[in-house]
């Protein structure tokens, strides 16, 4: 059935659903199929990495409570070998779980019970980069960003970033000298159109800094403007 839907909207993307609750996973498959995504379901944490390698998805939907292996560990494993977007499904809105999930490499999260449209919006925001690439090059600090080629260079050295971190960096680099609030960043990078969790921004800015800054303790590329947001360093 998903194949039929996929053929109606070809090439929208492939989603790996890692969730131990069979009815939910099936329902997710149906909803994603309606939206034109292909999907495959994996019910156990310990086989999730194998399924990921086998299926090569464009996005992973990952439940945090999994048999075999916890969602956080699966998240770290996938992140270790790929920058593919990961959206966590969590039953707990508690700060600790969300932060741990984000720090282990997830790009975004949705709290159960979520509205299907909300989930689809989150997924779309993460896989939307199917738009035709525009040849564009921007600079931020001593970094050179090739937007079309999806690469960031410091001199000759290429810095590997996940798509989300890349988007975040590009968003800042395209607005030099301008302070972007967390709200604006959530809208531009994550696609949220209403108030959302600003911790998403904080955690990912930290992750981005750890990769692009010379000294993450004294950032020069992504600067914090206290009480307002972030801006690109000159």
């Amino acid at each position: 059935m998903s194949a039929a839907s996929a053929s109606a909207h070809p090439g929208r993307g492939r989603v790996l659903i890692v969730d131990d609750d069979a009815p939910l996973a099936e329902m997710l498959g149906i909803v994603l199929g309606q939206e034109g995504f292909e999907s495959r379901v994996c019910h156990r944490g310990d086989v999730a990495l194998g399924a990921f390698r086998d299926y090569r998805p464009d996005l992973v939907l990952l439940d945090l409570m999994l048999p075999g292996k916890g969602g956080v560990d699966v998240c770290k494993e996938i992140r270790a070998e790929s920058g593919v977007p990961i959206v966590m499904l969590t039953a707990k809105g508690d700060t600790v779980d969300v932060v741990v999930g984000l720090e282990s490499g997830a790009d975004d999260y949705v709290v159960k019970p979520f509205k299907p449209k909300e989930l689809v919006a989150r997924i779309r925001a993460r896989v939307r980069r199917t738009e035709p690439p525009v040849a564009e090059s921007v600079a931020i600090g001593d970094l050179e960003i090739d937007v079309a080629g999806h690469s960031v260079r410091r001199g000759e050295e290429e810095i590997p970033l996940t798509p989300l971190e890349f988007d975040l960096l590009v968003c800042l680099a395209r607005n030099p000298g301008q302070v972007l609030t967390r709200q604006v960043l959530l809208e531009e990078v994550w696609g949220y159109h209403h108030a959302a969790d600003t911790r998403l921004v904080n955690v990912h800015v930290q992750r981005l800094r750890s990769k692009v800054e010379h000294d993450p303790e004294h950032p020069e590329i992504v600067l914090t403007v206290r009480g307002v947001g972030y801006k690109a360093g000159s």
Binding site: D21, I30, V31, A91, K112, K115
Partner: protein, 562 residues
């Protein structure tokens, strides 16, 4: 200057007073010492009186006996002398001189006064007496007693005054206490009656009395510190266990439930300790049980809520799918899909609110404070509530003060409180009435910020203002809700307000609408004493409005009268 001195001394005085108030031991010791001092003084005084009386009585007895002997001897001598032929003066001397001599050697003084019956005062001379004696030593009343013939022997107390006569010794001395005995004798030479006064000094008795006094005083002075010491030791025996019990009780109160008193012996203290320990054990058991129960219950609510989430998510998605496809269904099925969708929204909101309340109950709610601009929050909330207001035909007006209203608070929670108040007001306002306005007012001062939300709907009956914050409370169970509230909104709002150390209060009158007021301290942790906005709206008709604070809030007394 005096003021400065007081300021220096005041702390010490205050410390001493505190010690006095707090220490049973000090009070017991001081009162024991005071009482002992009174008792010792009384006993000493009685002892002294009795000693004195005994000494004097004994002395008077001796003196009278001696005088008796002297007089008998004198009379014998006079009787032996020839009644005539001797000059009275000579006979007087013959009579007195041996007595004076004997008096000198035995320590008493003698005065021969007379002759009686002539009204010649003793001080005007005529008498023969021991040299150096001042005649004022003879008291006037005794003299008066013997102002006549044939008076019986009499005695009284007096003071012996010595005449200076240039001799330094004793010239300025106090009068020496003495016993004076008078007795009359008839002189054969002139047949007249003369009075002989014997003055026996009481020096010895005085010395004895002084000795006894000193001994008693010394004993008393030594006794008082001893009594104080004994009092201190005895009260310590009682107070020490009490103090230990206090310390243990404090520790138990602080949560260290396993603390116990040491029991030794079988006396009252030991039994107190035993009972105390038993009480602590029972309390500990009860508390443990309650803790376990409450933990189990909290865990249960949390588990149930979590377990509900996953199936709810599936149902939700299925419902959405059906809802989106309802145009393909027959009318009954399509309507069912719509109802399913709408009720799922309610169910979801309820679950979210239940989870939030259970988090408050578990004490797991934590503030994420930030600098919040309340004007922005209010604008956001009102904008978000606009569709509902339009649907109900209610106007919402915001009255901002000139200065921005900033507060240190958890923006998410404050927004949730205000969202609740505003939707609640729109919900209860008069629908489709052009005069109806929901007024949101902001104000701030140095210590606090406040937002009030006023509607002019059916209002609240007396006593209902306190109940609006109860969980699942409805003013009128028959009244429909339009905004689909869960019944937990105001309860959560109040928990949020309390978490900030703020107040959420309600005012309402039947037919006059209601006003809710949120007051928050400008800085977290600062105590809240007043609100920049009145709770009772200015357009309220009567002053006897039903003003009831929410549970647990503190209402400043003046607030109600305004």
């Amino acid at each position: 200057m005096l003021h400065d001195a007081w300021r220096r001394v005041a702390p010490a005085v205050r410390r001493a007073l505190t010690f006095w108030r707090r220490s049973i031991q000090a009070r017991v010791v001081v009162s024991t010492v005071l009482l002992s001092a009174v008792v010792v003084s009384a006993v000493g005084w009685i002892l002294l009186q009795q000693t004195r009386q005994g000494l004097l009585e004994h002395r008077v007895e001796l003196v009278l006996a001696e005088v008796e002997t002297e007089m008998a001897e004198a009379r014998t001598r006079l009787a032996a002398a020839s009644p005539t032929g001797v000059a009275p003066g000579r006979q007087q001397r013959d009579l007195v001189e041996p007595i004076i001599d004997r008096g000198d050697s035995r320590g008493y003084s003698v005065v021969l006064a007379g002759p009686e019956g002539q009204d010649v005062p003793l001080s005007e001379g005529g008498g023969v007496y021991t040299s150096g004696l001042d005649l004022v030593s003879v008291p006037a009343d005794l003299e008066a007693h013997f102002d006549g013939v044939g008076r019986t022997t009499a005695w009284t107390y007096t003071g012996i005054v010595r005449r200076g006569d240039g001799t330094a010794a004793g010239s300025d001395d106090e009068p020496v206490p003495a016993v004076i005995v008078g007795s009359q004798v008839q002189l054969p030479a002139d047949g007249r009656t003369y009075t002989l006064y014997y003055l026996f000094p009481l020096t010895e008795e005085q010395e004895t009395l002084g000795l006894v006094t000193r001994a008693l005083f010394t004993a008393g002075v030594l006794l008082l510190p001893l009594v104080a010491g004994i009092g201190w030791l005895v009260t310590r025996q009682v107070v020490t266990p009490i103090r230990m019990a206090r310390k243990v009780a404090e520790r138990i109160a602080a949560g260290r439930l396993q603390e116990r008193l040491q029991v030794s012996g079988e006396d009252d203290i030991a039994r107190l300790a035993y009972s105390f320990n038993q009480m602590a054990t029972n309390l500990q058991r009860q508390i443990r049980q309650l803790e376990e129960l409450s933990w189990v219950q909290r865990r249960f609510v949390s588990d149930v809520s979590h377990e509900l989430r996953t199936p709810l998510t599936t149902v939700r998605m299925a419902s959405d799918l059906l809802h989106d496809a309802r145009t393909d269904f027959d009318p009954a099925t399509a309507r069912s899909a719509e109802l399913l969708q709408a009720e799922l929204d309610r169910f979801e909101n309820l679950l979210v609110d239940l989870l939030e309340i259970s988090r408050f109950d578990a004490g797991g709610a934590v503030l994420a404070p930030e600098d919040v601009n309340l004007d922005d929050v209010v604008n956001r909330v009102v904008t978000a509530a606009q569709p509902l207001a339009d649907q109900r035909g209610v106007r919402v007006v915001v009255e901002h003060p000139d200065d921005p209203v900033r507060v240190e608070a958890d923006g998410r929670r404050v927004e949730r409180i205000l969202r609740n108040l505003v939707t609640n007001a729109i919900d209860h306002a008069l629908a489709d009435d052009p005069t109806e306005v929901v007024v949101v007012r902001l104000a701030s001062d140095d210590d606090a910020v406040a937002v009030s939300v006023r509607d002019h709907g059916v209002g609240l009956a007396p006593g209902e203002a306190a109940m609006v914050f109860n969980r699942f409370w409805r003013a009128d169970p028959a009244r429909a809700r339009t905004s689909g509230g869960t019944g937990l909104g105001l309860a959560i709002a109040q928990e949020d307000a309390h978490l900030h150390g703020g107040w959420l209060q309600a005012w309402g009158r039947t037919g006059q609408g209601a006003q809710f007021r949120l007051t928050l301290p400008r800085h977290l942790g600062a105590p809240l004493r007043h609100s920049p906005l009145p709770l009772v709206p200015e357009d309220a008709v009567s002053s006897d409005a039903a003003v009831v604070p929410g549970p647990g809030t503190v209402v400043p007394p003046r607030e109600v009268e305004r």
